[in-house]
Symmetry: C2
Subunit: 417 residues, 2 copies
């Protein structure tokens, strides 16, 4: 047994090309972590000069770790501590941050230690009561409209865009997404729509202006609602769109369509059945619904760092979990589309816009904030590129209604008027 | 309390136009059943001359019940006994059987008695071990190919067709369905496909002949496999399609695509995780999968009469339950389409073909068999028309692969080569 352990250490102390290298105990530890992650193509340099990782020149990026404390944090709780150390500047990256995060995400899927599982299980997470939701949403979406204007599209759509071709611009792709949603909902002039979680109001205004519907749009972010109301007035849509600063749980009335783009992530699984009941009450006999949400291939907690530092209370569901919303009221699922790669491309644009505005962001919020948002946007792009995150659009109607499209061809031009 | 009961009885003894009618205790009972079903638009005539139901002339069909024994059976266990009494001839229908069954299905959803629930809970159902599956499948699919030739399309596709327009013929719609499945799977010449539950082999042969792939097709129905092998030889496709008379649980090898059309209904929920593991083993890194299955809006047992007399062991899942197959191996769901109304139309054609061949069916199997299949085909059409049954096509791939279509436009002509 002892001999085996010794030979393991000997192997660990070999360089990437097999040549013997003398590693410190810290280097050995880092090397062991990489092995347990399936040896992702990265090179890591420690404060003491030790360097571990793949064959030189094959790495997608290089990581520099500044001290032993950061190394130990990373080994014990890598999901959470990568973001923390990156923010503090004790972990620095040279090279492509998105590619690096993509290979690390793939690697972490292989690395299952009991310690990691225990830490993840015991982590305190935010809940989503009406009061908590208000705090959770305020923390992210009320950062200041000026900040989001720096890197979102002109209409401030902060959800996955839809690129009819990969060369569509971000601004056009956000309009195309809104159009796709409206086509899927088969909106007719004069109909009524309720929107749960309307962001800065782009979709509500688009539906009213282009499809002639009346919209009630709910959101609990104060800054977003101020902006949305101003835009409605400026565009002469004040009579068609009512922006209501209130929780989706207080939706009342009866509508031809229910739509929610990018809110389910914040609802919390414990509230899915209640959301289903709310939709059931809100929707007319021939009503249509669409839920657009980030999702997962199987149930899992959101990355701990994202949940703590970016989206408190957020919790994307697996598609199966999403369907809990619809199963109790007995809605018929008509269509599910997965737009994962469209979100990866959306995030690429957001990240590029963000980096182009970095001087302004630094001036507004400082260096630490810049790093937090850099690793968040890069990590999100990597997560959609690697399938860690998915994006589902689910269309539904009542079980009994036969007022449903005969095929989906109308979505793709052939039958569109 | 007694007075209330009496006044109920008095109301029950009023005719459809409010005129006082003297009903026997049997008529009262039938009338009470109809009330508990929300008064569906039917008229029911009893052996003793009593007539109950909606206003005369408003009924979609008339039912004649031949004796008290049948009446009592219907009241206690309507789901099961409608089919039984129809088969025995003690319940006869004048008018449109499909419309009648549609209004009764809607009504039964409202009629929840403790007795009905207890009966349904205590009903013995068939299981789906490897041995049981063989018996269950034999009971239905080995009835004789000559029988199915009387009313299916020329290729004997015994699953939901896809009608590009509602005026497409059944034969063309079955070809269109096979094409749709192949397009969704993005089959390329030279690729390999495994099919679980291949019926009479139409899809396997279509894939080989039109998409240049090699297919291994599994099925445990002996009659179907004999037929499929003969067809493969006759069409010179013996080298491209291997028909294997074996359970899907014995699939081995690695394939570019997995497809299963109309088998999941027979798998049984207790076997979904195992099916997921089998698909996981069978699929290559960039492999695609498609499962086509009858489904439900929420979990429920299959209609008891259908399970006993038509499809022993069958058990259509809700979409949420279907996703159990894919969630454990962590497949990414790319696309879900609901083709419920296409199945209603498919069944309309099958039923019409069946009625046109009724003399031949009677000669082959007798009157009782004719009635069993009449009520089964009519009830199935009604079930898809009313949303009691749904039809889901689910397309999936591995979580990490980015070899997925950019949009779904290619399915609808624009981008198709």
């Amino acid at each position: 047994m002892k001999q085996d352990n010794e030979s393991d250490l000997t192997r660990a102390a070999q360089g990437p090309d097999g040549e013997p290298v003398r590693l410190s105990i810290d280097g050995q530890l880092m090397s062991a972590l990489l092995r347990s992650m399936g040896e992702p193509p990265v090179r890591i340099e420690l404060w003491n000069g030790d360097e571990v990782g793949c064959t030189k020149g094959k790495e997608v990026a290089r990581i520099r770790i500044a001290n032993r404390k950061s190394l130990l944090k990373l080994v014990v709780d890598p999901e959470f501590q990568f973001g923390e150390c990156f923010t503090e500047g004790t972990l620095r990256v040279e090279g492509d941050l998105v590619k690096l995060l993509a290979v690390l995400m793939r690697g972490l899927n292989k690395y299952t230690s009991a310690v990691r599982q225990f830490i993840d299980w015991s982590r305190r997470r935010h809940t989503n009561t009406v009061a908590d939701s208000r705090d959770n949403i305020h923390a992210h979406y009320d950062l200041g409209n000026d900040f989001y204007k720096l890197w979102l599209d002109p209409q401030l759509a902060y959800t996955c865009a839809y690129f009819p071709t990969p060369s569509t611009t971000l601004a056009a792709a956000q309009v195309a997404k809104m159009d796709l949603v409206c086509r899927k909902l088969r909106l007719q002039p004069g109909e009524t729509v309720v929107e749960a979680g309307c962001g800065w109001g782009a979709l509500a205004l688009h539906m009213a202006a282009n499809f002639g519907v009346k919209v009630k749009a709910f959101n609990i972010s104060h800054e977003q609602m101020e902006y949305a109301r101003q835009r409605a007035r400026a565009e002469g849509l004040g009579d068609c769109v009512e922006f209501i600063e209130d929780d989706y749980r207080n939706i009342s009335g009866n509508f031809d369509a229910f739509v929610s783009v990018g809110m389910l992530e914040h609802v919390g699984r414990e509230n899915y059945r209640e959301l289903g009941t709310i939709i059931d009450k809100a929707l007319s006999t021939n009503g249509r619904g669409l839920i657009h949400s980030i999702g997962l291939v199987r149930p899992a907690p959101l990355n701990a760092w994202i949940e703590r530092r970016i989206f408190p209370g957020a919790n994307p569901p697996s598609l199966r979990e999403m369907l809990e919303v619809l199963e109790v009221p007995g809605f018929s699922v008509l269509d599910v589309e997965n737009l994962r790669l469209h979100y990866a491309l959306t995030l690429k644009y957001w990240r590029e816009n963000y980096e182009n505005a970095i001087a302004e962001v630094t001036r507004m919020y400082g260096e630490k904030f810049v790093r937090i948002w850099r690793v968040y946007l890069s990590g999100s792009q990597a997560a959609f590129e690697t399938g860690q995150l998915q994006l589902f659009q689910v269309v539904f109607a009542r079980q009994y209604t036969n007022e449903v499209p005969w095929t989906r061809g109308y979505l793709y031009g052939q039958e569109a008027a």
